[in-house]
């Protein structure tokens, strides 16, 4: 069963950028419905991701949650100076998750998580105005995380585990603004690397101040995906020693930044829970996206990013309406890690307001259906990317961007 699910994750996991940078916060339908809070919430095996230390307080002996989100994200671009305009036609992303927890005894629990916290899938019209920066990108990273959780006493628990990441990237852009072959087809390059893997870790703690008030903290380490000997495929390049672009391999590094979350939850009335999470993502590791081509004739591609650390403020509410229904709602404010002048169209992110809602339907003792919905709202923004160079001259790519995302999600939880 696990194997089948894992395969399904590998086959389908394709996330879409709609959070700051290429972080995709869709790690559980219950949590997402309440603003993607959860670091101090004890209610399901989603804690494998949000706070492994909480697993040991789960009431159930065994619990497994699986789910999927459908990500409908859109980017519109226009440049009033020239009238150039474009809209993305990105594929619908379907990030998946699977969490399992097992209560070994009163003080020890085990867990396993498979999830996709980083990804990006953006597809512009070919040869659009910014095609020298990106035509399309598909970035995936699947995290596999075995977890252990210890109860130190009724007030305090700790948890954590190693993380194995396997990722892939496929990225196409035109070589510059004008190079074509004889027939006028724009010269472009596709870089592709898959099966890129590395290890990281997660550690967390949970403090139960009272029966109703919990505080949690989770730290997930930075993981650098080093793509080695990926394929670089050059197309429509003129046959000339002046344009020495031939298929070759490339090396590149993509950081999956560390993330720290602290938060609290409070059961403030009977059946009501309030949760607040604060995320800090350490994006400053993402300084530049550099493609180092093996062929020395081909100039390496340097793309400054210079991200800054960013914060997310999350608020969520849960109401156990009846024995059958649990209702949730939430909001979070997501700060963009993109600095002014570094607004690249592959991740055109400004600050966003995010609204979530959802519910759980209890079908008997053991089975739950979890549903959630997220709407990400970005303000229209005039922005530019100023670090693209032609013959040593900076050529800013600017315009007005408007983006949004709609994410319905559905999950199942089975518990014993």
């Amino acid at each position: 069963m696990k194997k089948v699910l894992l395969l399904a994750v590998f086959a389908l996991a394709s996330a879409v950028t709609y959070a700051g940078g290429y972080r995709v916060s869709l790690q559980g339908n219950k949590s997402l419905a309440m603003g993607h809070t959860g670091v101090a919430v004890i209610n399901s095996s989603e804690s494998v991701f949000f706070n492994p230390a909480a697993l040991v307080y789960l009431e159930d002996k065994f619990s497994i949650s699986v789910g999927v989100h459908g990500v409908f994200s859109n980017i519109a671009y226009q440049d009033a100076e020239t009238g150039a305009n474009a809209r993305t036609d990105s594929p619908v992303g379907t990030p998946l998750y699977l969490y399992a927890s097992y209560q070994a005894n009163d003080w020890l629990a085990f867990g396993l998580g498979v999830y996709t916290p980083y990804g990006s899938s953006v597809e512009y019209e070919e040869d659009w105005a910014g095609s020298h920066l990106v035509n399309n990108i598909d970035l995936q990273a699947i995290y596999i995380q075995p977890t252990v959780s210890f109860k130190i006493n009724d007030k305090l628990s700790v948890g954590g585990g190693p993380i194995y990441v396997t990722g892939s990237v496929n990225f196409n852009r035109n070589l510059n603004r004008t190079l074509t072959d004889l027939e006028g087809n724009r010269a472009n390059v596709t870089v592709d690397a898959s099966g890129v893997s590395n290890w990281g870790w997660v550690a967390s703690a949970m403090v139960n101040l009272t029966e109703d008030l919990h505080i949690g903290a989770t730290y997930r380490s930075e993981i650098i995906l080093d793509a080695e000997d990926g394929d670089a495929d050059f197309e429509n390049v003129p046959n000339s020693p002046l344009t020495p672009f031939a298929d070759t391999t490339f090396n590149a590094s993509l950081p999956l930044p560390a993330e720290m979350t602290v938060g609290m939850s409070y059961d403030f009335c009977e059946n009501w829970t309030f949760a607040f999470d604060f995320n800090r993502t350490f994006w400053d590791v993402y300084e530049s996206l550099d493609l180092d081509f093996a062929n020395p004739e081909i100039p390496d591609s340097k793309n400054a990013r210079n991200y800054k650390n960013s914060s997310i403020y999350r608020f969520g509410m849960q109401y156990e309406a009846t024995k059958m229904f649990t209702l949730r709602a939430g909001y979070y404010f997501d700060e963009s890690p993109v600095r002014e002048g570094y607004f690249a169209p592959e991740t055109p992110r400004n600050d966003s307001n995010n609204f979530t809602a959802g519910l759980t339907v209890n079908l008997g003792e053991h089975l739950q259906i979890d549903a959630s919905f997220l709407y990400s709202h970005f303000k229209e923004v005039d922005a530019s990317y100023n670090y693209y160079f032609e013959n040593g001259v900076a050529v800013p790519f600017k315009g007005t961007y408007k983006t949004n995302a709609f994410v319905p999600g559905l999950g199942l939880t089975y518990k014993l």
Partner: protein, 511 residues
């Protein structure tokens, strides 16, 4: 539960239908840009090779796609502009066939030669555009490569039967509405709401590119008697130009008139330096010794008998020095031909030497050497005679040099044409584009754009294609912006311009 599910799905449904992000004011909305007092629903462009999108010595599809009228038509689409069709060539080679035989060469591309240096070469391949295959329908782009002002009103200019004799134009033959059609008649028949007219360049250009090999026909009002390299009489130009403007504005259409640039600022005339002959001291002394009699005896003698003026004698003096910067010698048909005089007494020179000296002078800084001379200068046409070097011991023929006297004729004619164009624009309330001033800015310092500097430097400057005469796509985009600016100014419109850095320059490829 039923209700909750129903509401959930209702919310989802709303989400999906309103998925697309909408700008506060989308550029694609009516009213974002304004057409002002003009109407762009039917745009027709009339002109010559520059209007057709000719570049790199040929007309080919991607060049046509980057013609300034086509670039403008894309921008007109923001202000109610309709479709814009062009008589597209059959391929990107650019050569022409007539009944299967090639009558025009393929385009130039920038190729790296065996010595590692890049230079223009003709693209290999058999062209597939046969001018006897007529295109059907009318076309918004009526640019006809090679057309002079009076050709646009000449019946039969598109008669395919006249192509072999030069009486008709192969490009117009492809899309003329009938064998007796005129370019301007076919353009006017389209009942355009807006037009651009840029014609007259070839009325001086072929004279200039041929190094002044033609005749200045100023004073001759019969264009049917002109040769292909002649300068058109300014009164002929004024008459036919006025006729064309009348035809295009007959239905009240608005439009733009574009004037004629100074041809002498294009790379065809500015790339080959006038003084690039390197000589060592021994060679210079030997040459000076050979020309000593010519300088010191023959020329003063001819002045003495009143055959040439003292000024002409000074112009004809030949002097070399031990340096990298000697001027080549040339034959100038504006000089007095002294060949027969030299064969008689008192000079008694042999016929061959007399012919050499007949109209001989040294190129000077006021002359311009044409681009094709670069492959001739310094060459030894007779491999058995290494002493016979073109420019040093064999004069450059007149076709390679546009002498100062010839430049003056070109300037006089184009100045007269431009006076006509500007006056008509004013009289008819049409937009006017000073292409002459714009090209002069490109040639003198260049134009800053979002990626560098656009200059007239051959190959590297970005403005001119590999024929040294016609613009690159980037040069055409710059032209389109100039015209759009004039339209916006004249008709109170707000048509957006393009980023010229998004348009390419010369095409590199090795055969």
């Amino acid at each position: 539960m039923k209700n909750i599910l129903k509401y959930t799905f209702a919310v989802l449904a709303v989400g999906f239908v309103s998925c697309e992000p909408e700008f506060d004011s989308p550029v694609t909305d009516d009213g974002f840009y304004s057409s002002g007092s003009a109407d762009f629903s039917k745009y027709v462009s009339v002109g010559n090779s520059l209007t057709a999108g000719y570049a790199d010595g040929a007309l080919y599809i991607t060049g046509q796609n980057n013609s300034y009228p086509n670039i403008m038509a894309q921008q007109f689409s923001f202000v109610g502009g309709g479709d814009f069709t062009q008589p597209l060539m059959n391929d990107n080679l650019g050569g022409l066939l007539l009944g299967g035989s090639q009558i025009a060469e393929n385009r130039f591309v920038l190729a790296v030669g065996p010595n590692g240096n890049p230079g223009p070469v003709r693209l290999d391949g058999m062209p597939t555009t046969d001018v006897s295959n007529k295109l059907s329908g009318s076309f918004n782009n009526m640019g006809v490569p090679g057309a002079k002002s009076f050709h646009l009103v000449a019946p039969g200019y598109g008669n395919v039967a006249g192509v072999p004799t030069g009486a008709a134009n192969p490009y117009f033959a492809r899309f003329a509405s009938s064998e007796s059609a005129t370019v301007i008649g076919d353009a006017a028949a389209q009942n355009a709401t807006f037009f651009t007219l840029w014609i007259g360049n070839n009325d001086i250009l072929s004279y200039a590119t041929s190094g002044g090999a033609g005749v200045d026909q100023t004073g001759n009002l019969d264009p049917t008697s002109y040769g292909s390299n002649d300068i058109t009489d300014p009164n002929v130009f004024a008459a036919v130009y006025s006729q064309q403007v009348d035809a295009l504005t007959a239905n009240g259409a608005k439009g733009v008139l574009v004037n004629i640039p100074e041809v002498t600022s294009i790379p065809y005339f500015t790339t080959v330096p006038t003084n690039a002959i390197p000589l060592d001291a021994a060679t210079a002394a030997q040459l000076n010794a050979q020309f000593a009699a010519y300088n010191n005896q023959i020329l003063p003698g001819l002045v003495g008998i009143g055959l040439i003026s003292a000024e002409e004698a000074a112009l004809r003096m030949i002097n070399f020095s031990a340096s990298l910067n000697n001027f080549p010698i040339m034959t100038d048909d504006d000089l007095t031909d002294i060949t027969t005089v030299l064969q008689g007494p008192p000079f008694n020179l042999p016929a061959q030497l007399a012919a050499l000296l007949g109209q001989l002078r040294q190129v000077n800084a006021n002359d311009l050497i044409v681009l094709p001379a670069s492959s001739v200068l310094g060459s030894t046409p007779d491999p058995n005679n290494p002493q016979g070097v073109i420019g040093v011991s064999i004069p450059l023929t007149d076709q390679y040099v546009l002498a100062a006297s010839e430049q003056a004729r070109v300037t006089a004619a184009s100045t007269a044409y431009n006076a006509t164009i500007q006056a008509l624009a004013g009289a008819k309330n049409l937009a006017f584009v000073d292409a002459k001033a714009a090209l002069s800015r490109v040639a003198n310092g260049g134009i800053v754009y979002d990626g560098g500097l656009l200059t007239s430097q051959f190959v590297t400057g970005g403005a001119f294609s590999l024929d040294g005469v016609h613009p690159t796509p980037r040069g055409y985009a710059y032209t389109a912006n100039l015209i759009i600016q004039a339209i916006n100014d004249t008709y109170d419109a707000t048509i957006p311009k393009v980023h010229i850095g998004n348009y390419g320059t010369v095409t590199v490829t090795n055969n």
